[in-house]
């Protein structure tokens, strides 16, 4: 029973890991993209439509990621190309993505698909308790953690990561050194979009095997909060995502067991927890701002 519960916690946190890791990369490059919710929805509808149409779940995953990246590309066109206000552009992207995904997905409402299979790692999955928990998950869960690890390594260990951090820290200096600020940011935004798309794809492919308008239910925004929670460090995203997964499952489990608290109050928990976490983090400025990208949300254009 506990195993089962923890497993659902893990699964609930997977979309958050994807989306928050992607957003973290974009933010480390200095771009605040508030359109995560919209990109996730596009990823979700893209993946579901592909799975429903072709039955090929692998292709669905790829299409989900591409749809997210493409939606991120729309953000990049405006926020980077036209140097528009990033906050407002992100809002526009969420509104646009929510609408377009609903439009594209309208014929798909009411249909169901088969979810992703589990991948059972031989030997390890036979371990008691952790075997079931960690080594017989679906492929996307492994992918999420692998990509997170990759991002952590990339940011800390590679020259590309160094350039990306430099662009987020001081775009004028990076430009003066001859780095293309906008190209670095474009790639970061596209990666962020792809990750959000994958996170969105996980919802219909794994969590609830059907499509519904606005099915992300604020997960994109929670992912944004997670980046703040993680104070822009990749591994803390994992911790944060698991905590939120835990809270979500706790309220579901509570409802199932008929706790006397009205279900609406239980459903508020993830949102209230997000606020509480934001407050705790932002109170401690030293901690929260140590890795803060100084140029976050600031417009860069070469002809300043």
């Amino acid at each position: 029973m506990l195993e089962q519960l923890l497993l659902t916690v893990l699964m609930t946190s997977v979309p958050l890991i994807f989306a928050a890791t992607g957003e973290l990369v974009a933010e480390r490059s200095g771009v605040l993209n508030l359109g995560v919710e919209g990109m996730m929805l596009m990823g979700a509808v893209g993946a579901f439509a592909t799975a429903f149409g072709t039955g090929n779940l692998w292709l669905a995953i790829i299409v989900g990621g591409l749809a997210g990246a493409l939606t991120g590309g729309v953000f990049a066109l405006f926020a980077l190309g036209f140097a528009t206000n990033q906050v407002a552009t992100g809002l526009a992207l969420t509104i646009f993505g929510t609408g377009l995904s609903g439009l594209v997905g309208a014929p798909l409402v009411g249909h169901a698909i088969d979810g992703l299979p589990q991948i059972t790692i031989p030997v390890l999955s036979n371990l008691p308790f952790v075997g079931a928990l960690l080594f017989s998950l679906d492929p996307m869960a492994y992918l999420a953690v692998a990509l997170l690890a990759g991002v952590a390594w990339f940011l800390k260990r590679t020259r590309g990561g160094l350039v990306l951090r430099a662009v987020g820290d001081n775009h004028d200096s990076a430009h003066a050194l001859g780095y293309s600020v906008l190209r670095v940011r474009l790639l970061a935004v596209l990666f962020g979009g792809m990750m959000a798309g994958l996170g969105g794809a996980y919802l219909p492919l794994m969590l609830t095997p059907h499509w519904a308008e606005g099915m992300t239910a604020g997960r994109g925004w929670i992912a944004l909060a997670l980046v703040v929670f993680a104070s822009w460090l990749p591994w803390r995203v994992l911790v944060g995502a698991l905590i939120f997964g835990g809270i979500t499952i706790m309220q579901l489990a509570g409802q199932a067991r008929g706790w006397t608290v009205p279900s609406q109050f239980l459903s508020m928990l993830p949102y209230l927890a997000t606020i509480a976490v934001l407050v705790v983090i932002s109170r401690n400025r030293e901690f929260s701002l140590a890795n803060f990208p100084s140029c976050l949300g600031r417009v860069f254009h070469a002809g300043k």
């Binding site: 508030l34 919209g38 729309v74 405006f78 190309g81 036209f82 140097a83 528009t84 206000n85 906050v87 407002a88 552009t89 809002l91 526009a92 992207l93 969420t94 509104i95 646009f96 993505g97 929510t98 609408g99 377009l100 995904s101 609903g102 439009l103 594209v104 309208a106 430009h175 293309s180 308008e213 604020g218 925004w221 944004l224 909060a225 703040v228 009205p262 609406q264 109050f265 459903s267 508020m268 949102y271 209230l272 997000t274 606020i275 934001l278 407050v279 932002s282 109170r283 400025r285 254009h301 070469a302 002809g303 300043k304």
Partner: protein, 367 residues
């Protein structure tokens, strides 16, 4: 590769032209999307933008639809001018409806002269208090107001859902999640035009919305309060140097925008529904963000912008009925419109050129 260079001054014609071009481009892109999805683009655009206003009473209903948008956007303008990103107007609107509803449901016997002012005051208070949560967290702990105000919207939606299914449910509602009907004194009446009668659903709240927009313009353009808001948004350091208090301005603009949203929520329920229900808003709080931007953060222009966006909302209904198009398509329009407006802003401030990516141009910054 797009290169930008700053304009010295912004020509007036550009300022006026931008929203027009943005709307035109939105229509073109919308038509392309319709065609891609297999709808006849001309028919779709007709259903969207012409069919909903082909009779006088429909025009009046357009105003009714625009009413909450105008009220909320008039308040949001203050926040955005001050660079404070309140995106939780939806939640503040819900709280305003609940606070107003509390008066109507708890004291059903009040006379009209007491009832309506009390509901207005409580509606504004509800939105105000809900907005004070991000305001205080931001000023005390530097917590991001975008995320907090948004999270509170989800909380507000669950809160009203609980009240109308729980403590405030009408025992006679046969299990539907609805509160009792408001007393007559708690309803906003329709406007009676002498010699003409009622026109569509046109109610007094619409008149109020117009007054609010004009008042907001006056405060922003002509008073020291408005000046503080603008200075804090444009150059916070200069604002502190002038002697303005940044925390106070943050609290003030969140308060104003929250109170406006709360009022809109109370009006919406009292004029159009007459009772509380789980869904009272249909996203007005988010749509008003677009209205504020379409108006280029000018409260007077909010009136026109509110009407245009309301038309897109009504168009969504009309297209749904006539063409079986899902209602969410309105969101596509709204998103594209906002993109176009933001890009238009760039065309205003910069000379924009398309260039081959050979050079990175930087102007002299010989300081």
């Amino acid at each position: 590769m797009i290169t930008l260079s700053q304009r010295k001054t912004i020509p007036l014609r550009l300022t006026l032209l931008t929203p027009v071009v943005a709307i035109a481009l939105t229509l073109v892109i919308g038509a392309v999307i319709f065609a891609t999805l297999g709808y006849h683009p001309g028919e779709a655009l007709y259903q969207f933008f012409v069919a909903p206003i082909s009779r006088p009473d429909q025009v009046a209903d357009l105003f009714v639809k625009a009413c909450p948008l105008i009220i909320i956007a008039s308040g949001l303008v203050f926040a955005y001018r001050a660079n404070v990103w309140n995106i939780g107007a939806e939640g503040q609107m819900i709280l305003g409806a609940m606070f107003g509803g509390w008066v109507a449901l708890t004291f059903p016997d009040l006379s009209g002269w007491v009832m309506m002012p009390a509901m207005i005051a409580m509606g504004m208070l509800g939105g105000f208090l809900w907005a004070m949560i991000p305001a205080i967290l931001k000023t005390r702990f530097n917590t991001n107001e975008i995320l907090v105000s948004l999270m509170l919207t989800y909380v507000a939606a669950l809160l009203i859902d609980w009240t109308v299914r729980g403590p405030w449910r009408d025992p006679m509602s046969f299990g539907f999640p609805l509160s009792p009907m408001y007393a007559d004194a708690a309803l906003i009446t329709r406007v009676y035009l002498p010699g003409f009668g009622h026109l569509g659903g046109l109610h007094w709240g619409v008149i109020g919305a117009l007054v609010i927009a004009v008042a907001a313009w006056f405060v922003l353009a002509r008073t020291l309060t408005g000046f503080q808001v603008k200075v804090m948004g444009d150059a916070p350091r200069a604002g502190r140097f002038a002697g303005f208090n940044p925390s106070l301005v943050t609290i003030m603009v969140l308060g104003i925008s929250g109170a406006a949203a709360g009022l809109a929520g109370m009006v919406e329920v009292s004029a159009n529904m007459g009772q509380l229900q789980p869904e009272i808003s249909f996203g007005y709080g988010f749509t008003a963000i677009i209205v504020a931007f379409l108006a280029r953060l000018n409260p007077l222009a909010v009136i026109g912008a509110g009407l245009i966006v309301a038309l897109a909302e009504l168009g969504g209904d009309s297209a749904q009925i006539a063409l079986g198009m899902p209602k969410v398509v309105t969101g596509v329009f709204k998103g594209i419109l906002l993109f176009m407006l933001l890009a238009g802003e760039t065309f205003n401030r910069f000379h924009v050129r398309l260039k081959m990516p050979v050079t990175a141009v930087r102007e002299v910054s010989d300081a």
